[in-house]
Symmetry: C2
Subunit: 550 residues, 2 copies
């Protein structure tokens, strides 16, 4: 931040860098007795407190130093949401090294590519990933050792993984006397590769400053709104943009943390919600679909669950409605991306909305929301000119803020900013009150006769139909219009519905020419490593599709 | 922040300084239609929006540039809580100059001293302060001009104030096209002198960075907890540590702002609460005393008021009880000081307290609370050694954090830090959960036979007696014990109570030897410029007091 002109009169405040270690220290000192509960890979429930977590993080920081990990070194993890993963978040970043979370749902070759690109020095992994690690370990050129996150008695008798160590052994033999070092707050803290669907994966390299600022902003009343009386279960994985920052913002606020481990099916999540009195959660729509199905089929209710953030892809309004009306759970629609740490917007009402009729309020809450303080947004046309905030005009969404990347790790992809703004690749409208709504990913938008058709709207309408479990809309070739929409539908188990009925369902809900030309039924949609529907795979699958209108 | 070592690997995030101007920009873009309502010095109610406020702040920034105000220049204000004062907060700091708020309740000579010490270039003042400014203007050596914050038709026909200008005229003739400059976030933003009871007033010089970080931290769910659905009335004056940061944290969250102007009596405040549907407020106990008296005498209730922060001096538990039980208003006890921007702690419960019986919860909520994230605290003995967090051991309270001063303006008072920590001058306990409780100001503590007696406890007990309106406890000379407590009491209007009854009231509530040796009745307690009881004046008054026990 030193490249800005200084005033002739500087403030006289304490100079204190914003460091990730200060979060776990704060949690220990002021919320030390609050719990962290984890369903472990081993299957059992593990409980301890922030005080314990801080102690073990310090032990792990000593262990890392013993392994020769230095400031700026990358240390990788392949792990579910659990307490050991949290300890690594603080031990690695807190000691000045870089926490590199890897998505275990990627192909072994992709993982090896990422590990080599990041030049990871060590790799920590959950027991479940032993076979995966065995598959790619030999291809990792920079990794000096692998650490299995388990007790000593769970270690394999032998393994072809070179220099395989045991997490608990490292902890045991390390002292808990450790002073978190002070260093420049712009130092790299963590690294996360985008699930980029084209080209090589690219890394977002966060700093301590960006992480701390993002934690402050995301914990605010109009964003996550987490207090020390909450119990938070992050369903979104810690390998997916740091679980949207929850491993930082939850300890910072002192809330109880509940980690689900590997089982994210509706039944497992529901049980944990009830047992641990979870009040708040966060995840992508596909996971909530599983939870709602389980709860619906078994006629269950939530006893403590009050609020959830849904993001990662557009939350179907029908899902919000179910949560609100059937289960009395408030849904906060949020939007962000790996390049944004990730939070950019959250959708909550303002004072002057409170007198609006319920449907008007719902319509606002379906949007992705207003920028959280620190982020600024604008929409521009293809010519780069700024477009009006009228809630109708859509354009390319650009963002700016201290927790948004300025470039990718190792300058992969070159200069990415446009005049200081990061182009999100999303197409959106912004209304006069500053509420943003994503109409599409720019690469998913359907170009019909020179006009754009947003696919999110089309999908949301389909998903409001009682027979539809999931829907995706893609553009397929049309000789006259270039592209026309094709709706790809997964029906609810045992429910029938015809093409014609679904097409008719659009009547009056949308401009006539936006209506899909055809509907096709499939058993499942391809889901990517972060739980999002993979549109490019669907497009690939239906590349040769012949529309009845063609 | 550049004096800390850099990692070999720096993060790749946007470099964006934390500047105060970003707050009003954010309020405009994302909460532009939300209201700012002011009861003006002129007597009427003025309303406009954040969008209007931003526009007029830009006009004022242009006006300041026209007056030759440059980065780092100090510009003073003598003003109540109102929209013009808010515009100055942004226009002055946002353009890189330093907002110097002066407490108008000080003596004219003290004001002149402060203006000269700060080397203020211009001084803005509310109409009500015309006579005050006339009294000291001639003594201001650096001030190039005075601006009266009013419409043109309110300007005095003539005045002995040199170069007297009109606020609205400055606005009118200035363009609203203004780009907030970008500069180093550690640049000075604002200046506030402590109401120091001994020695010369000393200035705390805040930076943009400290102000923005303080705003984030203080808006969190476990501190002020302000959302864009709230309506906030800051009773605490904008000249008293920036109204505890509300002029920043409220626009940042987009809440409606309600400014009370000069009338802080119970009736005026109550009317505004009801008319403007205020949900949240903040002030010192003496002001709330006035409000509660008015509401109680007239059998009124609050229709929208839900939560208030009370700080500045210890909030008597009896007051909290009345707010909670009689009016269903949640009280958040908070502690801070001018040197801390000011917020250091806030008192809210944690998850593991929720099962405690009500009295146990109350006992926790009577404390000053846990540090807000960013602040750290410790208690030390007179030898500087750290004392245990057991809720019993008391010691000198030291604090650390990015919004705490490192030294006073112009190094007044020399090196103030002890090993990097700021000594608050307060004596406190901290319990195992990290909750701090002030037992006294170190200079108010009563030293009886080598032991300490905390006066806050003694006062709180007295104020729980139904006949007591206000109470202060001081140490007076005792030949055997050095000092013994004398209780100075203001009775409720028309209510009688005897010395003996009050002394008996302490039975069983406190260690026998802490019980005041005597009680004396007065008509009123001396109140300082920031609404706090002036203990040193009371001590002065009772210097020669002879205790019956002496
Ligand atoms: N909640 C509180 N309880 C007790 N004393 C307080 C509280 N808040 C502020 N103070 C006192 O006010 C001082 C700061 O005064 P000032 O700088 O004028 O705001 C602190 O050092 C405390 O002595």
């Amino acid at each position: 931040m030193s490249d800005y002109p200084k005033s002739p009169l500087m403030g006289q405040m304490m100079s204190q860098p914003l460091l990730i270690s200060s979060i776990i220290k704060h949690a220990d000192r002021y919320y030390g007795a609050n719990e962290i509960v984890s369903r472990r890979v081993e299957g059992d429930i593990h409980r301890y407190t922030y005080r314990d977590c801080h102690r073990r993080s310090r032990q792990m920081a000593n262990a890392l130093a013993g392994l020769g990990v230095k400031m700026g070194d990358r240390v990788a993890t392949l792990a579910w949401n659990g307490y050991r993963h949290l300890e690594l978040y603080y031990a690695i970043s807190g000691s000045g090294a870089v926490m590199h979370t890897i998505n275990p749902r990627l192909h072994p070759e992709q993982i090896a590519y990422i590990v080599n690109h990041a030049e990871d020095q060590y790799l920590f992994f959950d027991m479940t990933f032993l076979p995966l690690v065995e598959a790619f370990a030999a291809h990792c050129k920079t990794v000096k050792g692998f650490v299995m996150m388990c007790d000593r008695d769970r270690m394999p008798a032998e393994s072809k993984i070179p220099n395989l160590m045991c997490y608990e052994e490292l902890i045991e033999k390390s002292s808990d006397v450790y002073e978190w070092p002070l260093f420049d707050e712009n130092s790299a803290s963590s690294l996360c590769y985008t699930s980029g669907t084209t080209g090589n994966p690219k890394g977002a390299l966060y700093s301590h400053r960006s992480t701390v600022l993002h934690s402050y902003a995301s914990a605010m009343p109009d964003a996550l709104n987490v207090s020390s009386r909450d119990a938070v279960l992050p369903v979104v994985p810690m390998f997916h943009v740091n679980a949207w920052g929850l491993p930082y913002s939850v300890p910072l606020t002192g809330a109880k943390m509940v980690f689900p481990g590997p089982n994210l099916d509706g039944k497992s999540i529901y049980e944990l919600f009830e047992q641990e009195k979870v009040t708040f959660s966060a995840g992508v729509p596909t996971v909530w679909l599983g939870l709602l199905t389980h709860v619906g089929q078994n006629n269950l209710q939530f006893s403590t669950f009050k609020r959830t953030v849904i993001g990662g892809s557009a939350c179907p309004p029908a899902m919000m409605k179910t949560f609100r009306e059937k289960y009395n759970v408030e849904v906060v629609h949020a939007w962000g991306m790996t390049e944004m740490s990730p939070l950019g917007t959250a959708c909550t009402l303002q004072a002057h909305h409170l007198n609006l009729p319920a449907e008007k309020q719902q319509a606002i809450l379906e949007k992705q929301g207003h920028a959280i303080y620190g982020v600024d947004m604008k929409i521009v046309g293809d010519d780069g000119k700024e477009l009006p905030w009228d809630g109708k005009t859509y354009g390319n969404l650009l963002v700016k803020g201290p927790w948004i990347i300025s470039s990718y790790f190792k300058s992969e992809g070159g200069d990415v900013l446009q005049d200081g703004w990061f182009p999100t690749g999303d197409v959106a409208t912004i209304d006069a009150d500053g509420y943003m709504q994503i109409t599409d990913r720019s690469k998913d938008v359907i170009k019909s006769g020179g006009e754009w058709i947003g696919t999110i709207d089309l999908e949301n309408i389909a998903m409001a139909h009682p027979a539809v479990q999931q829907a995706a809309c893609i553009g397929v070739f049309h000789p006259k219009w270039d592209e026309r929409p094709l709706l790809v539908v997964v029906r609810k188990p045992g429910v029938e519905v015809s093409k014609e009925e679904l097409i008719k369902f659009y009547d009056g809900k949308i401009a006539k020419w936006w209506t899909p030309d055809d509907v096709t039924f499939v058993d499942a949609l391809p889901i990517g490593a972060t739980g999002k529907v993979l549109k490019n795979r669907i497009r690939e699958q239906f590349k040769e599709y012949k529309l009845p209108t063609a």
